[in-house]
Symmetry: C2
Subunit: 618 residues, 2 copies
């Protein structure tokens, strides 16, 4: 009797389960492919998670994600700042190829990443996925470069680089502007905490599409300034010194919301049908708006804006529960451009674009014994560039925003490291391994965006009448550029105004008197200059010289040629010259600064800079 009842019960259960199975089957038919969620955080430092060794940060949900998948120790992004890093992620291409060299404009209507770029969202959409962008965009303020035009069926978030998390106003530049959009339409949620709004929208998207494969780009706008963690986490870290305390609290604020998402996937029963990637867009910020810091690049040198590891080697996790391996640490070398082909292959998508820089890592991720496809990578941001080949890494004109050590601009203009021995990039091996430098430089020059002119040249000593003679400034020098001895050290400077080899001036002129120690015939004066329009550096208009035997009575001035027409040619070094026939001991040289930058030149309307290195007296 009891058995009968039990059977009856089982019978009922079976019928119920039968219905469920039919339901699941119909889901399964639509949902032949796994969902994909890319979580992309903002200005998160290289080791700012519990699972990356941060003992002062509480991040249980992200740590759990790492346990349910693979955590990478050598995952890079293709740029050390926001917009180009995102462009690379979304296109699978180097940001240069994606048309995004630096951060994009905040002006409403301005273009960002060109609309014709084919994004990962378009790829998934064309493979019958529902696609969503949640959070920060920062890749264009025009309709044709907005999220909906770039393959996202749904979009919710801010279009500019950062917002106040409660009012959703953009304060970085221009008028105080509200910046919150849903599918291109301005929406108001005043007072609502943006990380929660974004979380709610993400959870809703996931729930709405639980029966259809979806791709969600969840661009979390934290821990980017303004540091606005929730009260709960601010209080949790109240004894941690600021700004670290607020920053850490902001990471825990992220982590809690990752927890909300994981709980939702679990509750919907689709956790195992969902591939999740977690990555930061660039290293931690040391900007004033971020109180000069708060994040941590751990053993690495550099932070945001730097091509040392701390700017580009960042927390990265992939998890596909019960399909991909769990609890693994992968020490192989990969880059955010690889996600597009890797995910495309994991999801068995059709029509994967060919003209990309990303490599398919799916076999390596499935099986750690398979060969690593990525052997090298390249970066270029401003005048910095870098090549990594195997464990060797060469940086041109390195910049250390973390201020962990000194860089000699001349000696370290090319900075070589063997990452397997010195992951901190504190010791420059360029002089010890000139062949390796040559090899990596050659690789850089072979790269689509590497130019001969980017490479710091060996300094040849120029012998001339003025070399190591006395030079005196007769006009006020720029406070940052007072080392005028470099003008007579017999060396031309590297194509890097920060190298210490240059004397710069903003807006104003410079003027010097050189004492050659004895009266002698002079036939030519050359003035070396730097041109670097991206940094608003243009050639001086010209220079004037006059000569004297006694240092008091100078004869009439002669004016040099001008180089202003070269300014459209980009970054270069050059020289201006004056031919003369003099017998003199003293040379007075007046360098006419570039003045205001004219229309249609980079930096239009601002004071132009000029930089000069050697004054060559022959």
């Amino acid at each position: 009797m009891q058995k009968t009842i039990n059977y009856t019960l089982f019978g009922k259960k079976l019928i119920y389960i039968g219905f469920l199975l039919i339901g699941l089957q119909s889901i399964a038919q639509t949902k032949a492919k796994p969902n994909v969620i890319i979580i992309y955080t903002d200005d998160q430092g290289s080791v700012d998670l519990g699972c990356y060794g941060a003992s002062d940060i509480y991040s249980p949900n992200i740590d759990q994600l790492a346990k349910q998948g693979t955590r990478f120790t050598q995952a890079y992004v293709a740029a050390p700042v926001c917009a180009p890093s995102r462009a690379a992620l979304l296109t699978g291409k180097y940001p240069q190829k994606a048309g995004v060299h630096g951060n994009t404009s905040h002006v409403m209507g301005s273009d960002g990443m060109p609309g014709e770029q084919y994004t990962i969202a378009e790829l998934f959409k064309n493979n019958n996925y529902k696609t969503a962008h949640i959070g920060k965009w920062h890749l264009g303020m025009s309709k044709k470069t907005g999220p909906n035009a770039q393959g996202f069926d749904y979009s919710f978030g801010h279009l500019r680089g950062c917002i106040d998390n409660y009012s959703h106003y953009f304060y970085w530049a221009g008028p105080n502007t509200h910046d919150l959009y849903e599918n291109g339409k301005e929406v108001f949620y005043e007072g609502k905490y943006f990380p929660d709004l974004a979380s709610d929208k993400a959870l809703k998207f996931v729930e709405d599409h639980k029966e259809h494969p979806f791709f969600m780009y969840y661009a979390i706008n934290m821990p980017h300034y303004p540091y606005q963690p929730t009260k709960k986490w601010r209080e949790y870290y109240k004894d941690v010194e600021k700004p670290r305390g607020d920053y850490a609290a902001f990471i825990s604020t992220i982590d809690e919301r990752i927890g909300f998402l994981m709980d939702k996937l679990d509750a919907l029963g689709i956790r195992e049908e969902t591939i999740i990637i977690y990555q930061s867009d660039n290293g931690y910020s040391t900007e004033t708006r971020a109180f000069g810091g708060g994040g941590n690049s751990g053993p690495y040198r550099g932070g945001k804006s730097s091509l040392f590891e701390g700017g580009i080697r960042l927390p990265t996790i992939i998890s596909w529960k019960n399909t991909l391996p769990k609890n693994r640490v992968n020490n192989e070398f990969l880059m955010n451009v690889d996600w597009l082909p890797t995910l495309a292959n994991l999801c068995e998508l059709k029509n994967i674009p060919k003209d990309i820089d990303g490599l398919d890592l799916s076999q390596m991720i499935k099986n750690s014994n398979s060969a690593l496809p990525r052997k090298e990578a390249f970066w270029k941001y401003g005048n910095q560039w870098a090549v990594r080949k195997g464990n060797w890494k060469l940086i041109g004109y390195p910049k250390d925003t973390s201020h962990k050590g000194k860089l000699d601009a001349t000696e370290d203009a090319l900075f070589l490291s063997n990452l397997s021995e010195d992951v901190s990039e504190m010791k420059n091996l360029a002089h010890k391994y000139p062949q390796k430098v040559k090899e990596l430089t050659a690789a850089f020059l072979q790269w689509e965006f590497g130019y001969e002119d980017d490479v710091p040249k060996k300094v040849e000593i120029i012998e001339h009448l003025g070399k190591s003679k006395k030079i005196k400034s007769i006009k006020e020098l720029h406070k940052k550029y007072k080392n005028i001895d470099v003008l007579l050290d017999g060396k031309r400077g590297y194509k890097d105004f920060r190298s210490g080899q240059w004397v710069g001036q903003e807006g104003a002129d410079l003027a010097f008197v050189i004492d050659l120690k004895k009266t002698q015939p002079i036939t030519t004066i050359h003035l070396g200059y730097l041109q670097d329009p991206t940094n608003w550096i243009y050639p001086p208009i010209n220079f004037e010289v006059s000569f004297s035997k006694d240092g008091t009575n100078f004869n009439k001035t002669t004016v040099s040629n001008s180089a202003i027409k070269t300014t459209k040619k980009g970054s270069l070094t050059g020289k201006l010259s004056i031919a003369t026939r003099q017998k003199a001991r003293f040379v007075k040289i007046h360098i006419n600064g570039f003045g205001k930058i004219p229309k249609n030149y980079e930096g239009e309307g601002n004071n132009g800079w000029f930089f000069v290195d050697e004054i060559i007296v022959e």
Copy 2:
């Protein structure tokens, strides 16, 4: 029987009323004096209220307040920007005397209005009032210049000039900083709308002190940017073009909260025991952060930062229901410094400070037939200054931030109006009434802060060899200062770099060639310059001249004297000179700019400006 019952009921009621009366009597004993509330709004334009004629603004509560009291049509503030206007209100003194010349610093710990200033809050506190500051402070970031040190028992609000209304972060400069304090202690109310928080705190203060006389300075931070009206009002104005729509919605947001306060006073039964003043701190803003406008100065010229009426003549109401007259419009002339003595007299306070600039208007306010005590007023802000005497008003170096008309810098350097005939100050009567100009100028010079050097001088024509001759620039001019004919027009410029009489340069140098049309003897070259350190304008370092007969071959350069040592003397005009003995037709002049501003000079570290007017060739 029924009567008995009724009596019984009445008896009960009477007993109850009896208790009430005892209660009221005890309140009345403590509350011998009326409460005072000063509502001070932020960047509200001259006519931006329904009761001031704004047909597109809905402000029923403030309009009602005006009906329950007196609305002023000629009430001024003592400065056209925030901090000095507030300093004047709180001290009853001209801001110069209160030690606040311009806006105060946002840097934590920096001093604002000196702590030794005796404020209206201290006066009321010393007369046994409970005092409160609610809202914006902007008069000091140090403990000794904060609200609690300036006489306020209670303080709630932001210390800097503006905040985001939801996060309470200050974004104007420096790091992205939270800025909300209660009695000097940082407090967090993230996501809570600041106008509501401030309103709640104001209502609570009023309720807590209903039985004790109180003074409340309610410094509402609206309609100052960021324009963040509530949803209700944003939608109400949704068809009004921006930024006017957002601005108007922000005014209605203020108005609604004034309604909350009035309702509270009514509910507590203390409306008739409370004197209420309503005023704006300065005219509407035309800054970029405010989208260039949104407010309205109606018939008046100017806005924030201008000494035309639109910058300083603002909505002003006083109401003391059932004690002062109601539904009155007062057209007499008064200033915010008058509130201290006026309120002190209305409240019969003891020990009213004597060393103030405010006048007691209490008789005039009580009785419109009484004589107006204020006959004149003075303003000084930057290089602008103004005098009003009766209906005559004279402005020195006027600035029209509302851009309602042209100002000829020379002709209008002294701008005279008769406000009874031309309240718009569009027609300068200075040339028609020179005696009036003289009289008002004399009054200005008698004023404690008026100096001879502030007064634009009559332009004397200087006859010299170069006058009206040909001048050519041989270096790039500053884009704002290209009218180089003023250098040979025979006129020295006014002490006002904006006057159009000057050729300015920032950071860089200037150089010209003058063609005297024929070869002639030359003995002296003078170069007129302006010095105005507040605006980072310093004398040029020096100038160099060389001469030529043919315009091609110039002889050796001679260098002028230098004026750099005068820079500590404040604002002045001067000239540099070179004595020579030449026969020449062409004069080449190279003016060496001030370059970077050195340490301990105003504008330290920035590019210095220089301004030159006449090149006098003798």
